[in-house]
Assembly symmetry: C2
Homo-oligomer: 444 residues x 2
């Protein structure tokens, strides 16, 4: 018996090098264990040879979406920091609200955010937050894939790095490899060079990568240059961070020299355009990154800036905003945007060639999207509708690591009501802003 | 017997002048005929005195959304003109594709677009297209509200104006007033001054307003100034268009002097930001318009640029893009964006104080939105979630002119399958691009 047959679907295929998208029709996808075994025309396989069969006529199968930078438990505060500058957003809101955080909140917040992501077809997330042992427990339970990094500020001292290392040792590769880990210093503006250097050394020792915010806007780059003659990206290079596989969140303030540096290292850029617009930050030069061969992945960032964890929105906005910035409707074409959403996001996530494509041998993280809705009709172009029309609510079925975790929009691994009730019960406690409990200061 | 009771809902209230949003809890809305009679705390009304009762516990009631500028039947071509400049978009795609248009396509295309809008909570649309007698029949059937203008090019001569006038005489006020009409010359770059003047005179004679594209981008303004020493807005002023209530679509290329002119006339600006980004046009100076007291309404434009008719996306993008352009996260606040989406869009639509607010005496165009979805939870701010989290698929129930037209996402006035099948049947014929059938040329 083979494990799973997805019967009679369309399959989105994204070419490995030049961005090019093709849709195959009337296909079966054969899954064995946690991997894709075969894609073949419908009716060659005998459904009775499979433990489980999903009839997927009219559905599009595509790689599960990858969120390359988030702070998932921050869904607990969404809607609480609105219409404020980035300084106030940090100092008057986020870092005061986070003073209320208990380890248990990370568990329930992760579950809540994971449910939102599953319902929107996001099967993998690179999450950067606190108390990540509890995030890992939530991911283990819910059945998705995650790259988890325990966020650290320089002010916490080397004990924080030791704690993060212990987390890595405990959780790396757990849950059949669905959980991977990394070392996650917060940013060059909250970690001094010694701390960054120690983080890189620890990551190297552990054999994992890093995940860090850097050059979030031009102002950070300007101030860094003024204060120390180095851009934030140069700081990452000099402290050894870039010697290891690293996710750099945002890089909206990347200097042309930085792009040269980034292109020479195994760096992936996480791109979260809704946050950049909402906080009136700069928009990262994605076209320049890609010309330089740097991997770019879609991201949401946390839900206190975004205010959702919806990767479809990020996909739409990367296309729209790159056209806007280039003053050309001809750039960031549909195939290129889909390439970023799939293969390139997998590269940023550190699973290049394993995720982000539906091919024999790849990990079986697959979503089925219903394109029958009137907002897609008539369906002249599947590719166009994926970038410009598809909503999270069009995702019907989600498979991660070969296992069904949502079917026809019913969650199979978690009780949604229990999780939302838990979040609602704790709303009031979590929403109290208290200046004396602020966990950090944003002061470039 | 009173007609309709919406029981135990939350009600979004937007203040009439300063943008300010409040949510009332546990309210009943009493509707008689096509108007709102009363909003009062739940349990004061006896449900047995009503012909129809909608239990709306947990739902938010808000004014039906208004799409102040669209070309609804263009849904028939969505996804066919991608990643091209505005010149090629017109000359190589749209105006060739429109050579295939038959009157019947307008009927079925309007129905298809109307279904998409109803499902997304859009109850009114200002539609600017061809064969509008068939659009009117579709609107009459489906039960929504529309302001319809028969699009005209100067090259069609005065017969086009006469045909449009006949349409106005036939359809103005039909369907209990749900259908209103206007005169709709295409744009200053496709209509000469005599044609614009004749259009304005005809509108005045008929006692209706106008709906026109103008200053769609800076380039149009620049070329107009170069060729004739007038901006497109000044052309509208000089030809008498602005002496009548007029919807100006886009005005992204509005000059500071234009803003002064617009503020002195009964002009509403229709704002369709997704189109502007997708075609790499300029973003209209909405903050300047509003400072000058000019009404701004949300719009989608046609689905060959947008590619949907989703006003929630326009709402999100007006907020995000105005922050981006102003380099300030503090502008276009949530209450201001909601004000534009409701009261100000009603003003652009020509029904100021009648639509866009839930108050006794207003027309009963109301939608019920489900904010229980995980992507809204925990719900710290209803206002924030409406701007940044809500999807078209969250709209559950739609009432127009006092009548239920969608209930719990089931359409009550139209067979969705019949309409989508019709569109699918005609896809191939409509998608053929033929240079020799091009209906116009974009050549500033």
């Amino acid at each position: 018996m083979t494990d799973l047959l997805i019967r009679d679907c369309q399959v989105l295929q994204i070419a490995a090098r030049t961005p090019q998208a093709v849709v195959l029709h009337e296909q079966d996808i054969v899954i064995h264990g946690n991997r894709i075994q075969l894609i073949q025309p419908t009716n060659l396989a005998d459904p009775s040879h499979f433990r489980q069969v999903i009839e997927a006529h009219g559905m599009l199968a595509m790689p599960g979406l990858i969120n390359t930078h988030a702070h998932v438990p921050m869904v607990l505060w969404r809607g609480l920091a609105e219409d404020v500058s980035i300084d106030r957003w940090f100092n008057d809101y986020i870092w005061q609200l986070e003073g209320n955080l208990k380890p248990d909140d990370v568990y329930w917040g992760t579950l809540l955010g994971q449910i939102e992501m599953i319902e929107g077809g996001v099967t993998s997330v690179a999450d950067h937050y606190f108390h990540m042992n509890l995030a890992a427990q939530a991911v283990e339970r819910v059945g998705t894939r995650a790259l988890l990094g325990w966020a650290m500020f320089g002010s916490q001292g080397v004990e924080a790095i030791e704690q993060a290392a212990e987390f890595v040792r405990r959780w790396q590769g757990v849950a059949n490899g669905r959980i991977r880990t990394c070392i996650a210093p917060h940013a060059p503006y909250t970690c001094d060079d010694d701390f960054l250097r120690a983080s890189a050394e620890q990551a190297e020792k552990l054999g994992v990568g890093l995940h860090i915010h850097a050059a979030e806007n031009m102002e950070q780059t300007r101030v860094s240059l003024e204060k120390r003659g180095l851009t934030p990206i140069q700081v990452l290079e000099q402290t050894g961070i870039l010697n290891l596989p690293t996710i750099v969140a945002h890089a909206c303030g990347a200097h042309p020299d930085d792009i040269e540096i980034l292109s020479q290292h195994r760096v992936g850029i996480a791109h979260a355009p809704k946050t950049y617009l909402k906080l009136a930050m700069d928009i990262a030069p994605v076209l320049d990154f890609r010309r330089a061969g740097i991997a770019v992945g879609l991201a949401t960032d946390g839900a206190v800036s975004n205010n959702t964890l919806d990767i479809w929105e990020s996909l739409r906005l990367i296309a729209l905003m790159q056209k806007d910035r280039a003053n050309s409707a001809e750039v960031m074409t549909i195939p290129e945007a889909l390439y970023i959403a799939t293969r390139d996001s997998a590269r940023v996530f550190g699973l290049d060639g394993e995720l982000g494509t539906i091919e024999p041998g790849c990990l079986a993280d697959i979503i089925l999207v219903d394109l029958d809705g009137v907002h897609h009709q008539p369906l002249h172009s599947v590719e166009a509708t994926l970038v410009y029309n598809t909503r999270a609510s069009d995702v019907q079925t989600v498979i991660v690591d070969g296992k069904l975790i949502m079917r026809d929009r019913h969650l199979l691994t978690i009780d949604k009501l229990e999780v939302t009730r838990h979040a609602q019960t704790n709303m009031e406690r979590l929403a109290r802003r208290q200046a004396d409990r602020r966990i950090q200061t944003y002061n470039l």
